[in-house]
Symmetry: C2
């Protein structure tokens, strides 16, 4: 008895206190609103055919007549990678026999060779290459490392196994000296051969998890992500063994942090509003970026991002959306177009009355990063984002997703997100 009373009272109290709870429509109404949003955005995309929409034929470098001045890699089969490596080596043998010596032509991955293409909304690599001659004191080491890495990748292709960058490093510590050297050459080799790093069968450690309305195959096993409990399914490190994606979700919810992910997984938010919830637990890793893109492309669902309201939240969004400079040669495969910034946005802090003590003052470094971001093309092309970022830099306040917990642990899943969906409040 005593129990029941308490429970009831606490629920009533909450309803009164919680900002915006009163204007929340029923789940059915919100679901209908979402449905009409999705069908109208699909129509708009079909009409416009722009790169930043979810149209079925996205723009490519070739469409922009940029393919001669920019370089992009593609997913290649193992046998093609093998053939490419053999071709490079045969060319070099010919060059040596012809008396022209031994050198690789390696695409430059320097900052000066990067280009943001607004039509594609991502960073791409321009076509500058540098020569890496064996007969030069300054490049003999790098040439040797490049040759060794090519030989190792050739082995991986023959055996069809995946290894990590760390494994690669350990096959010849004496030569590589430290892992940054073998890692850098690995990216060079990707560019040289014109294939993605996943095509080389070199994978990164996995961090991401996924849960919700998604069925897919991982290395031949069918995985139903509604039946993964609270822990969720670890995102596979090798995207080439992922396939057969099916879903009845209405959107993909991309979550920056683990804690918010767990709240939504425990509450089975995906059963209330059909969706797929994915997180890389902080900085996006390659496996999660590839997985998100694959979902977006195959399922044609809107991607809504829930990140911290600070410059790094936006930075993370930008890595998912337009790629990182370090791997711009593969931006076509790694980036997910048209990610919407759902929250926590700087304007949400006042709108949702986030208490003063849950906002954090931005450090000087934060403010600098924020101002730098305002100069980035991918921010500039979205006036809504510029406005929000300006507000952040002006108020000098940031907030984590968890700040919503100040209204109760379930405010995120019970009020904030449903209201965002109801109001289609994303940019």
């Amino acid at each position: 008895m005593a129990d029941k009373k308490k429970r009831k009272r606490s629920k009533d109290d909450e309803a009164e206190e919680l900002p915006f709870k009163s204007i929340l429509e029923s789940d059915d109404v919100i679901t209908e609103l979402l449905k009409s949003y999705i069908s109208s955005s699909i129509k708009a995309a079909a009409g416009a055919g722009g790169a930043s929409s979810s149209s079925s034929k996205p723009l490519t470098l070739a469409d922009l007549s940029l393919s001669s001045s920019c370089r992009e890699v593609a997913d290649l089969s193992l046998s093609s990678v093998q053939t490419e490596i053999e071709t490079v080596i045969v060319q070099i043998a010919r060059s040596i026999l012809a008396g022209d010596g031994f050198s690789f032509s390696v695409p430059s991955r320097a900052a000066s060779n990067q280009l943001y293409v607004p039509e594609l909304d991502r960073i791409v690599l321009k076509d500058k290459s540098t020569l890496r001659p064996f007969a030069s004191v300054s490049s003999v080491r790098k040439t040797t490392i490049t040759t060794r890495i090519l030989a190792l990748i050739h082995q991986l292709c023959l055996r069809n196994i995946h290894v990590t960058k760390r494994d690669l490093f350990y096959t010849d510590v004496k030569l590589f000296q430290d892992q940054t050297q073998s890692d850098a050459v690995l990216d060079d080799v990707s560019c040289m051969l014109g294939c993605t790093r996943s095509s080389l069968n070199v994978i990164a450690a996995e961090k991401g998890v996924v849960v919700g309305r998604l069925i897919f195959s991982d290395n031949g096993d069918m995985i139903d992500c509604t039946k993964m409990g609270m822990g969720g399914k670890a995102i596979p490190p090798n995207i080439d063994r992922v396939g057969d994606m099916q879903s009845d979700a209405m959107f993909i919810l991309l979550v920056e942090k683990d804690a918010a992910y767990m709240r939504l997984a425990e509450d089975r938010f995906y059963n209330r509003f059909p969706c797929i919830i994915v997180t890389a637990k902080g900085q996006p890793d390659v496996a999660t970026r590839l997985f998100l893109r694959k979902m977006k492309m195959e399922l044609k669902l809107p991607v809504l991002a829930l990140v911290d309201s600070d410059p790094y939240g936006l930075k993370i969004l930008s890595v998912y959306g337009c790629g990182s400079k370090n791997m711009s040669y593969d931006s076509a495969n790694l980036t997910t177009p048209d990610i919407k910034w759902l929250g926590i946005r700087p304007s949400d802090l006042d709108k949702y009355k986030i208490p003063e003590q849950c906002r954090l003052p931005m450090t000087e470094q934060d403010i600098k990063t924020g101002k730098d971001m305002l100069e980035e093309d991918f921010v500039k092309k979205n006036p809504g984002w510029v406005e929000e970022l300006n507000l952040m830099v002006k108020t000098k306040q940031k907030a984590e997703i968890q700040a919503l917990s100040s209204f109760g642990f379930q405010y995120l899943s019970e009020v904030y997100l449903p209201l965002k969906l109801q109001q289609q409040d994303w940019l």
Copy 2:
């Protein structure tokens, strides 16, 4: 044709070069050897009934007549936690009404209050408590925080939801100021109430993954870990929703690092030798420790650990085995008895002819940590470990699991581990 030739040659080359490949028995022979090991170790355990064996009735503090001088917590149901909190508050109300003021009696978690119990092979907390009075300038803040945390936990019990430590912190940033303060008091509250942190429904971020011959339920969903592809199943953050463990495995392989885990998952090592493969990707987190213990207790399988050959590898082993000082009050629930050190052991470096360039020189800090570990009780009680650690400190060399990649990427799964199993080479 050309392809085939190449493949064949490279395999032959390998067999000649690879150390120990020639003495490896067939998988069937090794499996039989393992079976007889397991049945004999179960018999031995039943005979001895010691704490460090996998007997069905492990020793407890009560068996050692230590329960009066040591403090341990237990898994409590939500309603019991709720009752405990209410009891504490009623006592305080009485104390205030009786004119004795408002104070908590909080178990001390200082180093001086920790005890290693060799019979249990883990660290436990002694029974010293300190008073935390509200009417004292030095403790008024901590008393207030304690009260607030108790109120929040009470709320979680009523609603039966799980939150992270970060969520907890954000409910009252003004009071807690920074997260270390609310985290520390959370551990105090666990001790005070005599329950585990999981019983409080406060969970840590998940890091671990599991793959192999294990079926279990996560929050009501049945998970078959042989059907989790290469990515594996993320270990659930809340152990109280994990159950129904079934397995036909012969052992549990506890792996320190992600890279080694991925090698074994891709090669489906668990299908060659029936086993369960688990990793926390570095430092063991609470969720993985709870999960490993639960597997060991329910399935009664030997746990074989594959860690780096450095002091931190052994340290990680010790956290799984005997617990961390910070959470010694809960060592009974967090530790897994009788973990075997399979490798990479210092003596393996010479035995397996790990090339000089794949061994790393130990830093001064490494050597200091190694020497400190030699003084730790949990190392001392295992003469084999002492010998290995002495060798490490003497040779001043360390090596990562990945160093085995110098013999080929699959040396770990194809030669090293099978040979270890064949020779039952663990300590």
